[in-house]
Amino acid sequence: MSSASLPAQRKSLFAFSTQAVTMVAALVIIWLLFGFLTNFTFLSPRNLSNLFRQMTIISFLACGMVFVIVTGRIDLSVGSVTGFISAIAASLQARAFPDLLPHLFPGMAGTPWVGVISTILTIVVALSVGVLVGMFQGSIIAYLGVPAFMVTLGGMLMFRGGVLGVTQGQTIMPIEDSMRLIAQGYLSDWLGLVFAAAAAIVIFVMTFSTRARQQQFGFALAPFWKDLAKALAASLGLFFYVVIMNIYRGVQTPVLLLAIVVVVMSYLANSTRFGRYAYAIGGNPEATRLSGVNIKKSLFLIFVLMGALCAVAGIVLTGYVAAGTIGAGTNYELDAIASCILGGTSPLGGSGTIIGAMLGSLIIASLANGMSVMNVAPFWQYIVRGGVLILAVYLDVATRKGRR
């Protein structure tokens, strides 16, 4: 309502949304609480290392789920799909490839290379299955216009059936060592530091190139120290994490994988048309359609992406359990959805961030981990996790009051 039109203001360094502050505060409180209650076992490098590794599988799913929920849809099938892909991966490794590969590559028979090739092929097959599942559900949702809730509810049942069919009701073992490394491995100390250094360099380069570009268009630049402080803070956080993890056994491979996925997905959300359209569809589908956006295609691609991320989660799950099990992935969809909502994704669509969902996922993993370190009875664990979810959404609703 002021006088003339003003240029876009830059967000200040300290302009965090109240929700982000609440989330981080909640996490700190939970960590400190568990720290005191467990005589600081909870905060030991060993436990933190486990905690971060435990959060990865749900986090892969939450990354995709943010996109799905942002468009105002839901995917209830991700747990079953993850389990289904894990079962396929395990049976390839335990049953199909050990017979098949020595015939295909007779020269390698008996060498450790067979295991590596088996793992690579397993990953390729798993990813393809994930994409196919995404295409199957996505095309029904986007092109046949069946509500996502119903399609994925059906999918949840179908792929749970798929798990039973593939495993024949048995636990499938053994898994190749290279497969286990994906979920259970650690980077050597120096390699972790090299990755951190590389990431820090990228952060600084991007900060400066953005400034240069802003200057080129004649935009007002933020004070140099602010940008510098931001980049420095991010880099230091990274090194801090690596150093703590190195005290135990080093950076966990699945965490490195998750970091890559988070960066890619955040980039998709913020800096590509694909992401921009997803948010617009969630905000107002009619206006988005009239703006020339192919909504059907966008929705289809989002479910394909979700399928691919189920495959990533399924691969890591297989390596983590070192087996394919009947119950694999059960209820993962609920944790993934809860992570998104806890992390500030609006259940109505239109807003939400990947980083927020990761924070949500970390809170959920912390609750589970902390309570099991404390040996809390499982029935209490469920009750507490459910209660925290409701409380978080209530807080969000309460702080949003007054806006209309």
Binding site: L6, Q9, T210, S291
Partner: protein, 513 residues
């Protein structure tokens, strides 16, 4: 008329953080009068209504309000209290439940109950009493969704009056009505007045005041500028008071010479996509020239909006006829195709169809234009900001920052955001569907100026409007639609309100000059 005051607003001031919405407003409403209230968006009309309805409870504002001799002290956000006190409000946006009948809506929350069941026959009998008492011509058993906007408005009024209201506040009741419906509403209001109901009538359409109001009050920037007898007022006078400056003409002067035909529509027939077999366009013909503003007039339901959305490829299936763009026949099947051919549509309902309200000005403007500054994998955000800033400046969109959600902007500025969004796509043909609906005089004038400027640069513009004066004031030529047909084309020089209305109501011109 003696001065029996029913509502006494005395020195009311209402402030929000950083903004004074009402400052020291004193106004007395006489019993039985129809009191007009006008002012630009942000002048404080809505704030005043919200105080009277209890949305802003007692204590959140300064000053006193006395209604029928008692000071109003509404607690909390209780709209019931206002209704019980005898104040009823009909809002701009209708609040009826579409799937229920008129009677059910009127008695929503206060259904006549007998032995724990709703007594339907009594509900409809009482509804009929209310409807006939106020001369409202609708069936209580009709479902709201089956009624036209005009009749829905009547149901809304009946609902408001059903609790024996002494004061009826109408907040821009005509913004969605056609000319005939407006006339009908005026008639109803006169009837209410005869029954002793006092009315506060808020509107942007100043002409309406002269037909029915006794007095008119002008608000500007939260201050009461003047209250006068309607007979002493004139449109020019009101506009001057509202904007606080001399406005020589409601429509800016323009000089341009349309050149070649760019878009031709020939014998266009189309079917309702939802009801196969039902024709909604039954023969439309017109030519659009470069540098021309072509007005499309017609009553609500005449197929105006359906026509332009069909041209834009987003509505009906074309069954016969053709659309030629620069001499070549085109078959547009989606908004994307239309845009790629250089046709842009500023849709009718900016909130439902034009904007993603929760997103920023920047993202809204960029949405259809992302291909301009992005490759497959990357949006160049600096270029996006640079380009958007340019359009925000040239349309003087008033916003604290381009990162503000459009939800927070005023109606006029929201409309400018929609226009900016479509101008950035650099269209050859710009279609504006009722671009000035519900926005204030100042913003309207700016949009008119912009249209003239664009046409002057050679852009071809189609403008749909519900306001006859606007179509006649702005267009070079006017296509009049009637029941899905183009019923005639009038040049600016031969267009009068009567002739447009005659064509719009389907009377073939005999008897007129």
């Amino acid at each position: 008329m003696e001065t029996d005051v029913i509502l006494d607003i005395s020195h009311v001031t209402k402030t929000f953080p950083g903004v004074t919405a009402l400052s020291d407003v004193s106004l007395q409403i006489r019993r039985g009068e129809i009191h007009g209230l006008c002012g630009e968006n942000g002048a404080g009309k809505s704030t005043l209504v919200k105080i009277l309805s209890g949305v802003y409870p007692h204590g959140t504002y300064e000053g006193a309000i006395t209604f029928q001799g008692k000071e109003l002290r509404f607690e909390q956000k209780s709209i019931r209290a206002a209704i019980e006190a005898g104040i009823a409000i009909v809002y701009q946006e209708l609040t009826l439940i579409p799937k229920m009948t008129v009677g059910e809506n009127i008695f929503l929350g206060k259904e006549p109950v007998e032995r724990r069941r709703i007594n339907r026959s009594r509900l409809y009998a009482q509804s009929r009493d209310i409807l006939t008492r106020y001369g409202l011509d609708i069936l209580p058993q009709a479902r709201v969704m089956d009624l036209g906007v005009g009749k829905q408005q009547m149901a809304e009024i009946a609902k408001a009056l059903s609790e024996d209201a002494k004061l009826l506040i109408l907040d821009e009741p005509t913004s969605a009505l056609t000319q005939t419906e407006v006339l009908k509403l005026m008639e109803i209001l006169r009837g209410l007045k005869a029954q002793g109901v006092t009315c506060i009538y808020i509107s942007h359409k100043l002409e309406e005041f002269f037909g029915i109001t006794d007095r008119v009050t002008v608000l500007r920037d939260g201050k009461l500028i003047s209250t006068m007898e309607t007979r002493d007022a004139s449109t020019e006078k009101l506009v001057k008071l509202m904007v606080g400056r001399e406005m020589t003409d409601r429509f800016p002067p323009s000089q341009r010479t349309p050149t070649d035909v760019i878009l031709s529509v020939r014998g266009l027939h189309a079917e309702d996509p939802n009801v196969p077999g039902r024709e909604i366009l039954k023969g439309v013909d017109f030519d659009l020239r470069k540098g021309e503003i072509l007005g499309i007039a017609g009553l609500m339901g005449s197929g105006r909006t359906e026509l332009v959305t069909t041209i834009f490829g987003e509505y009906a299936a074309i069954t016969a006829g053709s659309i030629l763009l620069e001499g070549q026949e085109v078959h547009i099947k989606s908004a994307r195709e239309a845009m790629d051919l250089g046709i842009s549509l500023v849709p009718e309902d900016r909130k439902q169809l034009g904007l993603v309200l929760i997103q920023s000005v920047l993202k809204n403007v960029a949405l259809p234009n992302l291909n301009k500054f992005s490759s497959f994998m990357r949006i160049d955000k600096q270029a996006e900001l640079h380009e958007t800033e340019k359009y925000a400046k040239s349309l003087s969109i008033k916003t604290p920052s381009l990162n503000v959600a459009v939800d927070n902007l005023s109606g006029g500025n929201q409309q400018k955001v929609v226009i900016a969004k479509w101008l950035m796509s650099a269209p050859k043909v710009l279609i504006l569907d009722d671009p000035t609906r519900g926005i204030d005089v100042g913003a309207k004038f700016e949009i008119y100026k912009l249209m003239n400027e664009l046409a002057g640069q050679g852009m071809a513009i189609i403008m749909i409007s519900s306001e006859l004066e606007e179509v006649i004031g702005m267009s070079d030529r006017i296509v009049v639609m009637c029941e899905g047909r183009s019923n005639g084309v009038l040049a600016r020089s031969e267009a009068t309100q009567e002739r447009v209305m005659t064509l719009a109501t389907g009377i073939t011109s005999n008897g007129t000059r």
